[in-house]
Amino acid sequence: MQQEFERIPSGCAISGIMSTKGRRMNGEAIIRSIALMHERSNGLGGGFAAYGIYPDFKDHYAFHMIYHSEQSKMDAEAFLEENFIIDRSEPIPTRVTPGITDPPILWRYFLQIKPKRLIVFGRVDSPRAFVVNAVMTINNSIPGAFVASSGQNMGAFKGVGFPEDIGRFYRLDEYEAYIWTSHGRFPTNTPGWWGGAHPFCLLDWSVVHNGEISSYGINKRYLEMFGYCCELQTDTEVVAYLFDLLHRQQKVPLRLVCQALAPPFWKDIDMMDEAQRQMYTAIRQVYGPGMLNGPFSFVVASSRYMIGLNDRIKLRPMTCAVKDDLVFMASEESAIREISPDLDRVWTAKAGEPIIAELEEGAAV
């Protein structure tokens, strides 16, 4: 991990597709969608998150790793071997692609937690907390090693380059997923670091984000109080960690998580009925330090959801659309029309209003 730059502000393009029936699609469409918004990125970062891509290993934690040296790979593998049963270890398949230079070592592992380690960890009931802890440990204490994603039956594919080139480099046409999210980056500074590209992932959370979180300073300190280490080069990671903290750990309903991150204004809360007012007042009182302030639109995905959210005064664009079982969210309508010209419904997401697409009950993924 590189730490010379602590936070790189950036502008961006985002796009996401989900089949609420769990129907799997290859990566062609998402590449075309993000490629259309080429102008919104500058070739210094692109990436994808895909859900449902590892049906043969769907109960394994799929760790996508970025290594800067053989040494960091050896160190990380020693750590993984100590804590996990490694059922498969292989390079992430790539192809030579013009525009993609100097890729680091890209490796993936399909892991099961060693039951004994879980007992040592002291929280037998919480394998997910164990994985979070492992991710934090690798990212913070193994130099040159970075966990790009760590969820089940999903993975992140990201790097330095235009997103469409990154997509071809990672051979995304060969994967099938029921949720695809993607990101094209326009950083205003260039660390040239593959780990710094989006999406940001923790467990099965992934975040692609357009914007800058002006409240990053307090969001980071708030998360640190709960044991999350925000040591990466972008503010986007706080979004993933906040979803993990509020939804996974504290069991706050997803819609309310979104409304804690982009809460209603007091003037609107004051006009609500008593029960609602109490609830939203408490949300702001308790989760104020987690509130995301500044311009943003992001798409957060997990194995069951794709969620779009804009900041409270909509300083970044986001368009949503529905076609049959497909839900789209993108920075521009054109990026959706490009892959699905006829839409059942298309609308602009309102400021602070979460758009939540959920997998249908019984959808086999």
Binding site: G217, R221, W266
Partner: protein
Amino acid sequence: MSSLIPAEFFVRVDHQRCRRCKRCVMNCGFGALSFQDRVVADHKKCVACHRCATFCPEGAITIEKNPLAYKESGHWLPEYRKNIMKQAETGGMLLTGMGNDRPYFSYFDHMVLDACQVTNPSIDPLREPMELRTYLGSKPSALEFEEAPDGVRLKTQLAPQVKLDTPMVFGAMSYGSISLNAHRALARAAKEMGILMNTGEGGLHKDLYPFSDRIIVQVASGRFGVNQEYLNHGAVVEIKIGQGAKPGIGGHLPGEKVSQEVSETRMIPLGTDALSPAPHHDIYSIEDLAQLIYALKEATNWTRPVSVKIAAVHNVAAIASGIARAGADIIYIDGFRGGTGAAPTIIRDHVGIPIEMALAAVDDRLRKEGIRNRVSLICAGGIRHAGDMAKAIALGADAVAIGTAALIAMGCHVCQKCHTGNCSWGIATQRPELVRRLDPELAAEHLCNLIRAWSLELKEILGALGVNAVESLRGSRERLRGVGLSRVDLDILGIKPAGR
């Protein structure tokens, strides 16, 4: 024997312009002016409160510093020599008023705020909502919700919270140290602006009962004016352990200021010095504090947050952590610049640490222990403007308390003679003819103006920072940079140097 100490100031009366109206003579609370065919000044009595100069209709009065009261010395500064002479003459401990006036290093003046450019837009507070609302009280670390027929509902019951429309409260200033009219003005302004005033340790005059939902009622070591009725006439109950101007010692109210009404409100004899004990004699350790906190919660039927006010001292972080764990809902930290109505000069000027450092250390410590949410932090001690306030909030304060600034808004000229009870401005006095000068309505209006102005400025700062709610600045030290601070200072403050 009359004093040989030279006059600090000269009162210059331009007798050409003077109309001999004697207004200045009547206005001087310190008896420095008399009329003997024309206005005559006893320079030694002048404290430079500027009451006479302000009210002279002809602008005929100027106050000058005695240019060579003491021959220059870089080490034996005039104030030290003056104090030695006073002590040689009296053998007493010197008293003073207001906050530490020594030229200590100011960390506020070596921190600067951030602003947005290009990659994130600033927000225009003239055209967009900008939220300053703040709630004081203990927050849980998580909320629980439950399904109800009409949707999701909140299940968690929060501890009592007190709403502030803007993250400010008035500092603790007792009735006794300041006049009833000053207290009236503070109460009115607090109500009008949706903030809080603080009784200090002098009890609450019954005239102010209508303002009780905007009042912090203090319980100090002297227990002046404390009874069941008093406790229940506040929005917050505060245990005063210490004060920034005089950490480790109790309150001082000279007998000169204990008038009939002060004596009734404080429940002490008329004209007696009200010297509260240095410690609370029922608090010799942290577990005793916990008992008092819960006793006060019981006494107010668990409907009020309990605050604990401490002075910023070396080990303030550990102390604050203990207080949070002892069950306090609010911790009020008063830095070494904090004001006082009367304090030994030697304590005021040499004991305690800067609020910036104390606040940074406390906020850090509470976060490291994972209990920052359990208490709200009020920080005080020399907050001079909205910039100081914004910096304090960025360091981690939930709200700031303003004492001296509020006094200045009411007319105080910072002459530092509060302890004499002669305040010509009708603020820090109980002499009826002086108290009468302070119009509570006008003073309240000035206080409201000040709060409004600082709130507008804070909104402007937030807008420039690209956030539209104060909670996004609170504790966001990323938005501060140090200029000219050492590595260790930066480390304690938890901020980066400018350029990083």
